[in-house]
């Protein structure tokens, strides 16, 4: 974030650390992806070179940035990993299973070190893993030419030329003069060969590029180079004095104009923004929306008193403000959206580890990684998705033997997909495993002391049981089933994000978890309804249809009221009864139709008074966190209007039909 050349102390160190962690995340994600693709290279002579190059670069950067913020164990470990990668790249070592495992384990420890630094807890020891990497490095190199010799042999053409260490430090002034890293690169290439090139972050927090150049420098022209931010030092006879790579890496993915202290290898034209700043912006927009609503109300009063000619211009302006506000709001929301792939990319790593641990064969398919979702949601969905994927491997997928015996392919498949539908992002985790054993779930639920409804439970009821606190189908010591957290935690996370979870399962053929999440939180379009003298907001996304009905059309079926709807009967619940509100006699009601198919439900209110864009405020305190209410909003008068969650209301009704007639209110 620091402008080029700015001293480090101009930026607060904690900001800087945030950048560091974000940068680490990017590199570690890259490393994981690359390691997985390396698996296919085991034992082969010709290892996929670009993969090694990329891996090397990631570790190199991790080393550099960790050193800069003085996370020494991370620096040291990244250095070891880089060493091994260098040996692999130069052909000094072959990639063995042990080597790959050491890379995986090293990466894992590196993650733990960085996570520990982030969490402010003591850093784990890296000694064991550093030794392990040292051993595979020694084993790989034995009996072959040593890495440096081989490296030198790779560059026969440069054997005789003089070597120079060239450092280029870009600055805004140089960029303005057209001197960029590409300029330097061209200049060097025309005079000789670039043996190595690597960016690094300097102690001042700026970026610099190190080149190892082999060739003859023309002293006259080289004398002017320091003005272009270039430093030249001759190198004594040694093969590759830098930590840098022994041959050119093309392309370096660097745009000198957009380099920043922490963005050495980040894609260009990307600004990293602290999420809290976006939250502040979003709150400001929220306040604007409320002010706009107040203006609307004032305007409505004025319109009654003045001639149209006097207020029409104001009203036109108000409409324009509306449109501009919406654009602004959407713009900020788009900034907050990130591809769901951020979650997905970690999953192959998890599946691979767990499959090896459990001795199962599992293939993971990722779909819809580009689907965008709010950053806030992404961060909170990481653990639930991780948990479901772990569950799919450890509980869903059978062993190869079991699968073969069942006439299936020996390799199980887990499909992790994401797709957008309107304001909802649907994430699905599907496996082709054994399915949920309803009898086992019921037995376990009984053992755990949960109340189980009589009869064969459907998928929704099964999911309800599995998600009950205290339920777990395996031993608590089963690592994969999740470190003391169960499905109840997954459900709590989804609920907290105003999401919904469903399950489909078929014995013998698999299980699918479906999580629907709002694309973004904060502001939503809502229908405003009156019931029992109170005002409520209902998110428009949840409403399929709005109808006006006559009370006379309601049919009483046992304790439930129904109404004919599209050739079937739609159960209707009166909101005033569901919430225990006073009911005023009336002939006609407005009806929201929510849900679909068998779970469709009509929620009857006295009347719908309008449609509004509302700012959603969270209701956090346990005293007032109530099923069926997802938040609160302010329609401009400072009065709290509760936002209903129709999906939860419908579910409450299915599970506790008695509540329809109960007088809600007192004493829970």
């Amino acid at each position: 974030m620091a402008p080029e050349g700015a001293p480090l102390d101009e930026v607060s160190f904690s900001d800087f650390l945030d950048d560091y962690f974000a940068e680490c995340d990017e590199h570690l994600i890259g490393v994981r992806r690359l390691l997985l693709s390396l698996e296919t290279s085991i034992g082969r002579d010709a290892i996929n070179r670009p993969v090694l190059d990329d891996l090397f670069r990631h570790f190199h950067s991790l080393k550099g940035i960790s050193g800069m913020v003085e996370v020494r164990p991370a620096e040291e470990l990244a250095h070891r990993l880089e060493d091994y990668l260098r040996a692999l790249r130069t052909g000094g070592a072959a990639l063995t299973r042990e080597g790959l495992d050491a890379l995986f384990a090293g990466t894992q420890t590196l993650e733990q070190v960085i996570a520990a630094r982030r969490g402010g807890v003591p850093l784990p020891s890296i000694e064991a893993i550093a030794d392990r990497i040292g051993r595979v490095l020694a084993a790989g190199a034995a009996g072959d030419v040593t890495a440096p010799e081989r490296a030198a042999a790779d560059h026969p053409g440069t054997g005789g030329a003089r070597r120079w260490q060239i450092t280029f430090t870009p600055s805004q002034e140089l960029v303005a003069r057209g001197v960029r890293v590409d300029t330097i690169r061209r200049r060097l290439s025309s005079a000789g060969e670039i043996v190595a090139a690597a960016p690094r972050v300097t102690a001042e927090g700026t970026i610099a590029f190190d080149f190892v150049f082999a060739g003859e420098l023309d002293e006259a022209s080289a004398a002017a180079w320091p003005q272009d931010g270039i430093q030249i030092e001759p190198i004594a006879d040694a093969p590759a004095p830098l930590d840098a790579v022994p041959d050119p890496i093309e392309p370096l993915l660097i745009d000198a104009e957009s380099t920043s202290s922490a963005g050495a290898l980040a894609p260009s034209h990307v600004v990293r923004v602290d999420l809290t700043r976006l939250d502040d912006l979003m709150r400001n927009v929220g306040d604007l929306v409320i002010s706009r609503a107040r203006l609307g109300e004032t305007l409505a009063r004025v319109e009654q008193r003045l001639a149209a000619a006097d207020w029409r211009a104001i009203q036109e302006n108000a409409v324009t403000i509306d449109r501009q506000l919406r654009t602004l709001r959407e713009g900020i929301m788009r900034v907050r959206l990130v591809p769901v792939g951020e979650i997905f990319r970690r999953m192959p790593f998890v599946v691979r580890d767990l499959a090896r641990e459990t001795g199962k064969r599992v293939r993971l398919e990722l779909q819809g990684q580009a689907t965008e979702i709010d950053k806030f949601l992404i961060e909170r969905m990481m653990d639930p998705v991780l948990h479901l994927v772990r569950n799919a491997v450890s509980h869903g997928i059978e062993t190869s033997e079991e699968r073969i015996a069942a006439g299936k392919r020996p390799e199980g498949t887990i499909v992790l997909s994401a797709a957008t539908a309107g304001d909802i992002v649907r994430v699905e985790i599907a496996d082709d495993g054994r399915g949920v054993d309803a009898a086992a779930v019921i037995a376990r639920a009984h053992a755990a002391g949960l109340s189980v409804a009589a009869g064969l439970p459907d998928a929704a009821a099964l999911l309800g049981l599995i998600c009950s606190p205290g339920f777990s189908t395996r031993d608590r010591s089963d690592r994969a089933s999740g470190r003391g957290v169960g499905m109840s935690v997954v459900k709590a996370a989804v609920d907290e994000l105003s999401g919904a979870m469903a399950m489909e399962t078929e014995p013998g053929s698999g299980t699918k978890f479906i999580i629907d999440l709002p694309v973004t939180l904060s502001i939503t379009d809502a229908l405003i309804a009156k019931a029992g003298g109170e005002t409520y907001a209902v998110p428009q996304g949840a409403v399929r249809e709005v109808m006006e009905i006559s009370i006379a059309a309601l049919l009483q079926v046992e304790r439930i009221e129904m109404i004919p709807y599209r050739g079937a009967a739609l159960p209707v619940v009166r909101l005033s009864r569901l919430l225990g509100l006073a009911e005023s006699p009336r002939d006609r009601l407005h009806l929201f139709v929510v849900g679909s198919g068998g779970s469709a439900l009509g929620i009857a209110v006295d009347r719908i008074v309008g449609q509004r864009e509302v700012v959603v405020r969270a209701i956090n305190d346990p005293l007032v966190r109530v099923d069926g209410i997802s938040g609160a909003t302010d329609l401009g008068d400072g009065h709290v209007v509760l936002i209903l969650d129709p999906a939860v209301l419908a579910r409450t009704l299915r599970e506790r039909p008695d509540r329809v007639c109960a007088a809600g209110g007192a004493g829970r």
Binding site: A618, A632, V640
Partner: protein, 157 residues
């Protein structure tokens, strides 16, 4: 309104009245006080919760102290106040009959509540102090805010 909390050290309390009894909370726990406008009822919330209000952009639950202590509710009037307190990261409004005083009570003046004083609000009283001819009941905020508490004198619970 919070000026008295600024620099409030140990022994600074805010006083308020509920059914004619004077109660006190450490002023360090009190964020500010508000007039009560309208409170939105929350269906299915505990019986001693009157609802929610917006306070400085936040949705804040309102505990009716009369109901919490097991007394009958009284209609809100011009003297009714919302004492907004903060405890363990939660922000909550306590609805009281009236409130306006800050006093300093030296630690030595606070006695443990004796049995005779333990009326309906007894379980929420932490100490008793006499200030001139007045008796002040010092409340235990955490117990008032606790959710898991069985509700005394509430047959519905």
């Amino acid at each position: 309104m919070t000026s008295a909390t600024v620099g409030a050290g140990l022994g600074s309390y805010i006083l308020f009245n509920v059914t004619g009894t004077t109660y006190a909370l450490p002023s360090a726990d009190v964020r500010h006080m508000e007039m009560v406008e309208d409170i939105t009822r929350v269906p299915n919330a505990p019986s001693f919760v009157d609802g929610v209000v917006f306070s400085r952009g936040q949705v804040v639950p309102v505990i009716n102290l009369r109901a919490r202590f097991g007394f009958d509710r009284a209609p809100y009037d011009l003297k009714t106040r919302l004492v907004v307190v903060r405890s363990s990261g939660r922000t909550i409004g306590l609805l009281v009959d009236s409130a306006r005083e800050f006093v300093s009570i030296p630690p030595g003046a606070v006695q443990p509540p004796h049995e005779a004083l333990a009326g309906m609000s007894g379980r929420y009283v932490e100490g008793v102090a006499s200030l001139g001819d007045r008796l002040i009941l010092i409340l235990n905020l955490e117990r008032i805010l606790s959710f898991a508490d069985p509700l005394p004198a509430d047959p519905a619970a």
